[in-house]
């Protein structure tokens, strides 16, 4: 007798673990900023990332004000792990009277699992007005395939 659906307990567990990991990242941060003051609520994973897709590409976007391309490293490992690593340097003179310091600085690293496999050779990144946009071509298996219905 063949079962109707294969039960894959480990895959299910793995998926659940990944979901939990993401949730923990979001709440506590994986590395986060090394804070100059304890007052800043930057504990969660930095930077926050928005992800979307169209037929051909997967897009990841993050707001990184005060970070230049020289201080940013973007890598795609395997087919679905995106790493955004960088550093925000402190600004302003040391010898001044500071009224407010809300902008955190330091090194950060965020590892994201992409929902769709991509081709690591076809990744483009653009940093414009402090907004980082990463455009990744979908892996062949993830692209929609048109099925031609043959008439008899």
């Amino acid at each position: 007798m063949t079962p109707l659906m294969r039960w894959e307990p480990f895959q299910e567990l793995q998926r659940e673990m990944r979901r939990l990991q993401r949730e923990m990242d979001r709440i506590f941060g994986r590395w986060g900023f090394e804070l100059p003051t304890a007052a800043l609520p930057f504990a969660a994973a930095y930077p926050p990332v928005n992800v979307w897709e169209d037929e051909e590409f997967v897009y990841a976007e993050a707001e990184l004000p005060g970070v230049s391309m020289d201080n940013l490293e973007i890598t795609v490992t395997g087919t679905n792990q995106l790493t955004i690593k960088g550093e925000r340097k402190p600004t302003g003179p040391e010898k001044a009277e500071w009224h407010r310091r809300e902008r955190a600085f330091g090194a950060f690293e965020r590892i994201l699992e992409l929902p769709v496999p991509v081709d690591p050779a076809k990744v483009e990144a653009r940093l414009e007005n402090g907004v980082l946009t990463i455009k990744m071509a979908k892996g062949a298996e993830a692209r929609p395939r048109k099925i031609v219905v043959k008439a008899e």
Partner: protein
């Protein structure tokens, strides 16, 4: 993934004292302020604003910063959304007397920096005590 947790780490409407005509979400930019003998300098994280879309005003001791943000992102839904997109707005009362004519602003890598030079008479002066 759900989008119920957006926006994160971007506070909205926190410091708006008056209501805006236009609806929608406004975000409060994180700001550094320091003062030297010559000037007061504001640095604000305002990513995604085009340089021509700033409205910066100084009136009656009040500095108002508004950055319009054009919509961007997917035409349909996000697969994952961790922050929201909208205009930046924040207003500050500035204490010392400012030389309004000499206010300057620059925008680099998504950070707006506004320089408010102090008026001559508001600058600190060192008084030498003479021996009698």
């Amino acid at each position: 993934m759900k989008s119920s947790n957006a926006p994160t780490r971007k506070e909205s409407n926190e410091l708006m004292t008056t209501e805006a005509t236009r609806g929608g979400t406004y975000y409060t930019p994180r700001t550094d302020i320091y003062e030297t003998e010559e000037e007061i300098v504001f640095s604000c994280d305002m990513p995604g604003v085009k340089p021509q879309d700033f409205d910066i005003r100084f009136e009656k001791g009040q500095l108002t910063l508004h950055g319009k943000v054009a919509p961007r992102g997917p035409s349909a839904a996000y697969l994952q959304q961790e922050y929201g997109i909208g205009d930046f707005y924040r207003s500050f009362t500035v204490q010392p007397e400012i030389d309004v004519e000499k206010i300057t602003a620059e925008y680099r890598n998504g950070v707006l920096t506004v320089h408010l030079p102090k008026q001559e008479r508001a600058k600190p002066r060192k008084i030498t005590v003479q021996a009698g």
